[in-house]
Amino acid sequence: MSSPLIEITAKKNSSEAIVEPFYLNLGPQHPSTHGVLRLVLELDGETILRCDPVVGYLHRGVEKLAENLNYNQTIVLSDRLDYIASVANNIVFALAFEKLFNLKVPRRARLLRTIVGEMARISSHLLWLATHALDIGAMTVFLYCFRDRERLLNIFEKICGARLTHSYVRIGGVRLDFTVDIVEDLYKFTEEFPHLITEYETLIDVNRIWLKRTKDIAVVTPEEAINLGLTGPVLRGSGIPYDVRKFRPYDAYDEVEFEVPVGEKGDTYDRYRVRMIEMRQSNKIIRQCLDKLKETEGEPVLAEDSPDLLIPERVREPEPKPHPKRGFIFTGREVSVVPVGEAFASIESPKGELAVYVVSDGSNRPWRLRLRMPSFVHISAIPELTKGHMIADLIAIIGTLDVVLGDCDR
């Protein structure tokens, strides 16, 4: 053995063991960190003593970019934030800008937004269940969920032509109306989906290993959950029925009936149950909105004075040309068509509470666009949640928080 170790042993009191922490660098390239999350772990055997998340590997400066694009163009940026449920990001951007512009959105557009928002919730939760189960080792659930998510993505493709980055919601409404075909597909899907959820539940809900791996793991008390800023299913798993859809209804959520599930203990299993019930509720919401859609047949889906229709005519800006170096960052003339002021909008995205704070200086580009992303806050809670747990639990905790790094890093 090398001499330094002997020296240390000699110096130390013989009754005292030399304890040196074992450091493990988990990520940014790791199969179960859901992207490029890096965690520096200090371990004692397999037990985590300290955990320091390092983020920013996917930082694209969306907030800075948005200050240099006009309002419509920022919608496209929003797709790239939480790319699992990009419609949710579209909606919150549009809601904030509509508040700023004082636009009134037609009812049909609000219904359509609610439908696609809930579709995004289902597809996001399906992906969450798939990856969470895979992280814990249940491979079959993963593929079952992907099979059904595929159907939703196909419907999305019919709606707007894109499967992942939709850009479907526009300021003042939505881009396109649903065709008869889509409504039929959705009816069929909502009819079958509850049975599919039952199928996943039969696979894992009675499985003893699954229960052992999720029950009593990362218990969050209600006070702790609020203190950590957790929102969405994670907060509701701790027993607080805070849901933006109920507390500050937007779009058509005041028209539909649904329940907000809450957990009892606030452990990983409760959060799993909450999300499973949420999927059923989303299914119900889509169903109701589809029925209401018949009442608004033929109505417009975009507000009359939406900038999507008006800005090009009123402003008559030259077509944005790709700058040789800067690509499509648009720096056209500044024309005062937007009211000066600020607006704040928040929605219940599948991951949690997603908020946008926009400050306008009257030009066609936002002065400041602040994004409050759920994953960002949830990742900041990982050190608190993992204390005293094992590596295997850490993986389960990352899964149960449902983080997306595009969402966190912006």
């Binding site: 800023g229 507390f247 170096k325 809670a381």
Partner: protein, 170 residues
């Protein structure tokens, strides 16, 4: 909400710069009385720190701001279902603000990000490091005098090193 705002006006009159009610009830308050004010709000039921961010008002045309920066807090009261915005102007020459980490653990990363992007220091923060940008990054990207694209000689050191290495390999 109206009652609360009038109470705020009475109790914190000497610190309050302005109370607005445009899209949201907004309180603009001096930095000095800020911590007591937040403590008061917490007792009033504003238990959820929804958002914490800064805005840079350098050369802001529509109105003359008192100071260059503003730190904006969005607080929500889950029991009362009320939303409140609190703004604190911060001078460029005296660029710091009190940390809220003793009230909310959630403030930890918000403040780190704010420091990273605007260079506003938070007094009382346990671990104020850069968050999204690399540790050896120079400048604070979300300030208005920071360009969208840096000239080549000012690019991040590590990136420049990689670039020369890649060129050498070709």
């Amino acid at each position: 909400m109206k009652d609360l705002l009038s109470v705020i006006r009475d109790e914190f009159g000497k610190f309050i710069l302005e109370v607005r009610e445009e899209d949201l009830p907004t309180v603009i308050i001096k930095r000095d009385g800020f911590l007591e004010f937040i403590d008061f709000l917490r007792k009033e039921g504003f238990n959820h720190l929804l958002d914490l961010c800064a805005v840079d008002y350098l050369n802001y045309k529509p109105e003359k701001k008192i100071e260059r920066f503003e730190v904006v807090y969005h607080l929500y009261s889950i029991p009362k279902r009320e939303l409140l915005r609190v703004k604190v102007p911060i001078a460029e020459s005296d660029c710091w603000q009190y940390s809220l980490t003793s009230f909310w653990k959630a403030a930890n990363w918000f403040e780190r990000e704010c420091f990273d992007m605007f260079g506003i220091r938070f007094k009382g923060h346990p671990d104020l490091r850069r968050l999204l940008m690399p540790e050896d990054w120079e400048g604070h990207p979300l300030r208005k005098d920071y360009p969208v694209e840096l000239p080549e000689e000012k690019e991040w050191k590590a990136y420049r090193k990689f670039k020369t290495k890649a060129k050498g390999a070709q």
